[in-house]
């Protein structure tokens, strides 16, 4: 069915087919908007202005983007090892718990400069630990990682409700939230940091963690493509049997990839708990873990693609909120719908357009060659 490899140039596979898939997802989204009597082109205009039109909007867009970079990288690292980590949501939740517990314990004693690296460490450790159990069960007990990570999402949610309602709640408070962190446990907001240099920016939730997201992209890129462990991860993902013959232990690789994945998901806690809310609370992950699946599929599991896909989803989240404000018929859930369509077309139906596009390319290329042949 598919054309012989080698004759299809790389850009068709890497850029054209994914773009066609995403275009299909947006086309269907447009049809849905049209179906509920909203002008899709006007909606695009509102979303674009709402996401990039003014400085607060850009701040919000990048703040959402930060979360998606973390969860997208998390899903991608697991994908490289051939594992589907559907548990980013739970790992992010528990990662946030790690950050919160750490700061609640440290903020009376330690300065910010010590708290920051320790918090990053805590979020990574908690997220990784939450991923390590399903990883261990997959590697050594043969239980399916998709099912166990789904179960761990629910267990994480139940655990957090229990802890917030019974243990960590601020005494005398009505809502299940911990006490607010002292200022040395806050990650500085972007508008504050720009203020140090005399630049003015309207306050938005964008904070220092966006820098950490960029750093993580580089680290993941270097790790996956330029270290021995990354090579082992990719080998196991590509062909587990071959990996075994090459002397790689797939069980250890599973553990490594999942722990890394969980740690990356846990960094959502840095952005949300340390950067924005400054306290532990319920449901701060708000589905970012699931969006990470769409981001990773759309970004083809490469950090560069993930940044682009995260920006797109950041734009949709922020612009979508704006759209919901402008158009009473549209709600924020439209973004969730688009997300589902993106996963459907770039993930589940990824091969649907591959055959037709490759055949069309070969026909065009062949016609070109014959044309050139006749002229020469």
């Amino acid at each position: 069915m598919s054309a012989p490899a080698g004759r299809i140039p790389r850009w068709v596979d890497v850029a054209l087919i994914p773009l066609v898939n995403i275009a299909l997802a947006f086309l269907v989204s447009g049809v849905i908007l049209w179906f509920i009597d909203v002008d899709p082109l006007l909606a695009v205009e509102i979303i674009l202005y709402g996401a990039f039109g003014y400085d607060v909007a850009i701040g919000y867009t990048l703040y959402y983007t930060t979360n998606f970079v973390f969860t997208g990288l998390a899903v991608a690292v697991a994908f490289h090892a051939g594992l589907f980590n559907i548990g980013g949501e739970g790992q992010a939740y528990i990662g946030g718990l790690g950050v919160g517990l750490g700061i609640l314990a440290m903020d009376p004693y330690l300065p910010f400069i010590v708290i920051l690296p320790l918090s990053i460490l805590f979020s990574a450790a908690f997220g990784a630990a939450w991923a390590a159990i399903p990883a261990y069960l997959q590697a050594y007990r043969g239980s399916h990682i998709v099912i166990t990570t789904i179960m761990f999402n629910f267990i994480a949610a139940a655990l957090m409700v229990y802890l917030m309602v019974n243990v960590l709640i601020e005494p005398g408070s009505m809502s299940p939230e911990s006490r607010e962190f002292a200022p040395n446990g806050h990650l500085p907001f972007m508008h504050e940091m720009l203020g140090w240099f005399g630049l003015a920016m309207t306050p938005s939730p964008l904070n220092l963690s966006v820098v950490w997201a960029v750093v993580c992209c580089f680290l993941v890129w270097a790790f996956i493509w330029h270290t021995r462990w990354g090579y082992e991860i990719r080998t196991v993902g590509a062909n587990e049997t071959a990996a075994v013959y090459a002397g790689i232990d797939p069980r250890k690789v599973t553990m490594l990839a999942m722990c890394l994945s969980g740690a990356l998901a846990g960094f959502v806690g840095i952005n949300e708990v340390m950067g924005v809310h400054h306290r532990l609370l319920l449901n701060f992950t708000a589905g970012y873990g699931f969006t990470g699946i769409a981001v990773a599929l759309m970004g083809r599991n490469h950090p560069f693609g993930i940044v682009l896909a995260s920006l797109l989803f950041g734009m949709l989240y922020q612009g979508g909120a704006e759209l919901a404000f402008e158009e009473p018929k549209v709600t924020r859930e439209m973004v969730v719908t688009i997300q589902g369509l993106v996963i459907l077309f770039s993930g589940a139906l990824a091969y649907m357009m591959k055959g037709p596009i490759e055949r069309a390319y070969l026909r065009l290329a062949g016609a070109n060659r014959r044309l050139l042949g006749q002229e020469g």
Binding site: I36, R141, I293, L297
Partner: protein
């Protein structure tokens, strides 16, 4: 003592109501997964059916049309899942996740566009719902000790779909274990190559399997929105599709054990509310969240092989590539 027994009886009664959608979904998952197609999308199909049924009931006022709408929408999604996983050999888990996320967004978007009630559908009256049925002789037998209470309190007084759900279990068992279709269904989930060699279409068999799953999830969703409740509420499935999946695994992909697991998880849910604030010796106040998380924890423990062993159908999750 009599008080305790009555409480227990009421808990069992609630268990049947809570377990009904789980039983439908577990049987749906059984058809799909026994044929080798992972079905994460039980949740999404059920949610879509719940929305379709509630909308139809609100507009037409007919419970039967609503049931038809619920089943149709669920079947369309099942076919989409099949189209992605069987025809295009896409990743079955990814496809399931896509359907779940798509539905959780789309039901709210359409709900607000059509009814403008924050994602809820209008409540429907009794004639547009499946209402409790009194089994014959329930009142006459009510005063008979033990048997009467069991019959009139526990068995009688549920709506039609509850009885349909529990009738589905022997039916599923019979179809999967006693018919030619069932034999082939199980074979295609274990060794599709052998089925193909015998001249039977793997794709057609698997399509029929996901179709069965679609119909059953349609029942589950309809039950949620117009039998157990009177309207659709956003995210009203609240993870029950995943619990059903857990029950299916817990029942080792067999109908009767899966139903028993559904009943157990339903019972945990029913008593969780009653146990709120109850002080247990040693532990102290009973954390309700622990009981709520118990189905998930138990499933993980089972999957880990610490209590028995759950072995999935061999070819599950692997797209079938016909040699050419």
């Amino acid at each position: 003592m009599a008080d305790f027994l009555l409480n227990l009886l009421l808990s069992f009664d609630a268990t049947l109501r809570v377990a009904t959608p789980l039983v439908f979904c577990a049987m749906a998952g059984l058809f799909s997964e026994r044929s080798g197609i992972i079905d994460i999308s039980l949740e999404g199909k059920m949610l879509a059916a719940a929305f379709a049924a509630a909308s139809t009931a609100a507009v037409t006022g007919s419970a039967w049309l609503a049931l038809g709408a619920g089943i149709s929408v669920s079947v369309v999604l099942a076919l989409l899942h099949g189209f992605a996983c069987i025809t295009h050999r896409g990743d079955q888990v990814v496809s399931g996740v896509a359907i779940n996320i798509l539905v959780s967004g789309l039901t709210v978007v359409l709900g607000i566009a059509w009814f403008a009630r924050g994602g809820q559908t209008p409540s429907v009256g009794a004639d547009a719902r499946f209402t409790p049925i009194k089994l014959p002789g329930a009142e006459a037998l009510a005063d008979v000790p033990v048997v009467g209470a069991l019959y009139s309190e526990l068995l009688s007084g549920h709506n039609l779909l509850v009885y349909v759900a529990f009738a589905m279990v022997p039916l599923t068992w019979w179809v999967v274990h006693r018919t030619r279709f069932g034999l082939r269904l199980r074979a295609v989930g274990e060794n599709p190559g052998a089925v193909d060699t015998a001249g039977i279409s793997v794709a057609f068999l698997r399509y029929r399997a996901v179709l069965c799953a679609g119909v059953l999830c349609g029942f589950a969703g309809t039950y949620l929105s117009i039998a157990q409740n009177a309207s659709f509420v956003r995210e009203m499935t609240a993870g029950q599709g995943y619990i059903a999946l857990a029950a299916l695994i817990f029942g080792k992909w067999r109908p009767v054990p899966a139903m028993l697991a559904c009943l157990m998880f339903g019972f945990l849910d029913a008593v969780a509310i009653r146990l709120q604030g109850v002080v247990v010796p040693v532990i102290g106040p009973m954390p309700v969240q622990l009981i709520q998380a118990l189905p998930y924890v138990l499933t993980v423990v089972l999957l880990a092989g610490f209590i028995g062993r759950a072995v999935a159908p061999k070819a599950i999750g692997v797209p079938y590539v016909k040699e050419r």
